[in-house]
């Protein structure tokens, strides 16, 4: 991985740097903003908002419901014990198990989706600077197109920093 980046003291100047990079014609997909806290209200944070997490959680829930329905009814039929004058397949109590497994599968699928889409745990080298957790905002371009490095540097410097780093 190669990258060119600069560290900005606040989100406003980071936004300024992103605007400069866009104006310089840098591919949106290569611009990375890294911060120690979320800045959901800034334009630079609006790019990656499309997500299927809600739908995947719902699908996980439906799968959980299916598994619970199968588990309860299958086991009740496999060992048909008559208990408390209830029917062999007793839907009222089964609903409790079905509800719990629905929610469990929804929760677990949400976490799995988070880990996959946020690429956690990280593998291989990634663009990062520990100054981020000290309050700085990193704006960089990963794998810049051949010949565009100078333009990237100029854009980052024009946003008000004195130093641009390369990795």
């Amino acid at each position: 991985m190669t990258a060119v980046y600069a560290l900005y003291p606040d989100a406003d100047s980071a936004q300024h740097a992103v605007d400069r990079l866009r104006a310089a014609g840098i591919d949106e997909g290569r611009i990375t903003v890294i911060s120690g806290e979320p800045y959901e209200e800034y334009a630079f944070a609006q790019g990656d908002r499309a997500t299927w997490m809600f739908r995947i959680a719902a699908i996980g829930g439906v799968v959980g419901l299916g598994v619970a329905t199968w588990l309860t009814t299958m086991t009740e039929r496999a060992w048909p014990l008559k208990t408390g004058n209830m029917p062999i397949v007793a839907w009222w109590p089964n609903l409790i198990v079905m509800f719990e497994l629905t929610m469990l599968f929804a929760i677990v699928s949400t976490v799995a989706t988070l880990l996959v889409t946020a690429r956690l745990p990280a593998r291989g080298p990634r663009l990062y600077d520990p100054a981020v957790t000290a309050g700085r905002v990193l704006v960089g371009v990963e794998n810049p197109a051949a010949g565009s490095t100078d333009a990237v540097e100029r854009a980052l410097l024009a946003a008000g920093v004195s130093e641009v780093r390369r990795v």
């Binding site: 606040d10 009740e76 719990e100 949400t110 957790t133």
Partner: protein, 451 residues
């Protein structure tokens, strides 16, 4: 958030993790000694058998099941409150959420331990797990104890994940500010977190989804714990209102536990700048509301029983109102209603100290309430020839005390290993106050949380 402010905030909140005084070790040693005494006592019980406890026919559920219900109730402090505050976007939640979520996880672990302590042969505890055994006996999904297993497992899994996910960015912060073994350990725990806009967005969305999912699960858990009682034809147990009654009581005791924990953190970890009086006042108002709700449920339950005048139920009713259990019953009423209502309804008394006094009172009262649900009913089941008495023996008392020490010990160790206040959420709260956002979506600042 500007750099100096962010650095100061991080320094303040990481200080308890990075600096350790002798008091910490003394406290841990003291608590560990009590926990060890509890473990030793349990071993003694295992060796000698249940005869060393006060549990005997017809009262098979006593201190241990009281503790089970009490701790599961305490667990409602965290994830449920945190999830609700997150969904309603209450700005004042930020310093509170993690303190609360930790209570849930540890209280659930302690609560779930009690059915095992209650077993005569706990090495066979895995029989509690519903799986087809080698005797071809399949799980009976019509048993409330199986429902307990599913409900508690789901809530514990959800609560652990709900606690862990927002800890990842804070682990990254600790990783970047430490060296040596700490850097390696927290680096592994941070999972390579960078803090890209995509990661932040996905984390926020995941927390939203989990908050939505965890609220009904939390409600279901204590409802199902109440089913352990209400599904049985035992006087004053077989009631349709036990579900909401238990949930209300659980949230009531949970908030009280949270207030006590926050006050301890504020005092001993010097978190005065982050845990403000307004947090206690807001939680105090919630506690007051739950106090009134609990009183309403108790009144409704008692009135219905008294008006029905059914012989078996009335025996239990009177033994708690003016019989052998009356001192405990009226202590419960004073602790759960008189004291918290008096303190929390008067603005002048709703201080940090006032909220803590009210919360301690509620914790005592709610433990008594659980005891009074379990024991008098079992001791007065319909025909007098099956009646019995119960007196706790030292074994049960020591194990009960040890669980309170275990909770304090786990909480102390956690606050030593993890920032007990979510640092990134606090920082985000500061800058979101200045953000341009629609008025209805904007968070309310701390001082204006409840005008």
């Amino acid at each position: 958030m500007n750099q100096p402010a962010a650095a100061r905030l991080s320094d303040d909140l990481l200080r308890p993790m990075l600096r350790t005084s002798w008091r910490f070790f003394a406290l841990v040693a003291f608590l560990a000694a009590i926990v060890l005494a509890g473990v030793g006592t349990w071993m003694y019980q295992l060796f000698m058998g249940f005869g060393v406890t006060g549990i005997n026919m017809p009262i098979y559920w006593a201190f241990y099941i009281t503790n089970f219900v009490f701790w599961i109730g305490i667990s409602h402090a965290g994830t449920l409150i945190s999830a609700i505050l997150r969904l309603v976007n209450a700005g004042w939640r930020r310093p509170v959420t993690r303190c609360a979520e930790v209570i849930t996880v540890f209280a659930l672990m302690i609560g779930a331990m009690f059915p095992i302590v209650h077993l005569g042969r706990p090495w066979l505890f895995f029989w509690l797990i519903p799986y087809p055994s080698n005797r071809q006996i399949w799980p009976n999904f019509r048993s409330p104890l199986v429902w307990d297993f599913f409900a508690i497992s789901t809530y514990l899994t959800g609560s652990v994940l709900f606690l862990l996910l927002p800890m990842i960015p804070d682990f990254a912060l600790v990783r970047d500010r430490t060296t040596g073994w700490r850097r390696r350990v927290y680096g592994a725990a941070a999972l390579g977190w960078q803090g890209t806009t995509k990661q932040w967005h996905r984390l926020e969305v995941a927390m939203q989804i989990m908050a939505i999912a965890i609220i009904p699960v939390a409600v279901s858990v204590h409802t199902i714990v109440s089913f352990d009682f209400s599904m049985a034809p035992v006087p004053m147990w077989h009631s349709t209102m036990f579900g909401p009654y238990f949930v209300a009581g659980a949230i009531f005791s949970g908030i009280a536990a949270l207030i006590v924990a926050m006050a301890a953190l504020r005092k001993f970890l010097h978190m005065e700048e982050y845990l403000h009086p307004i947090h206690f006042q807001n939680l105090g108002k919630l506690l007051l509301m739950m106090c009134l709700l609990w009183t309403y449920f108790v009144f409704a339950e008692r009135l219905t029983t008294w008006f029905g005048n059914e012989q078996g139920e009335m025996e239990v009713f009177w033994v708690t109102q003016r019989g052998a259990f009356a001192p405990l019953y009226w202590t419960m009423v004073v602790c759960n209603f008189v004291i918290p209502f008096t303190i929390l309804s008067l603005k002048k008394l709703r201080t940090i100290a006032g909220c803590v006094v009210a919360s301690f009172s509620v914790l005592i009262g709610m433990w008594l309430e659980r005891f009074l649900i379990v024991v008098p009913s079992l001791g007065h089941k319909y025909l007098p020839y099956s009646w019995g008495h119960y007196r706790p023996r030292p074994v049960e008392i020591i194990i009960t005390i040890a669980t309170f020490a275990a909770m304090t010990l786990l909480y102390t160790l956690f606050s030593k290993l993890v920032p007990i206040i979510s640092i990134w959420e606090l920082k985000a709260g500061v800058h979101s106050l200045h953000a341009v956002a629609p008025k209805e979506a904007a968070e309310r600042p701390l001082g204006q949380a409840h005008p």
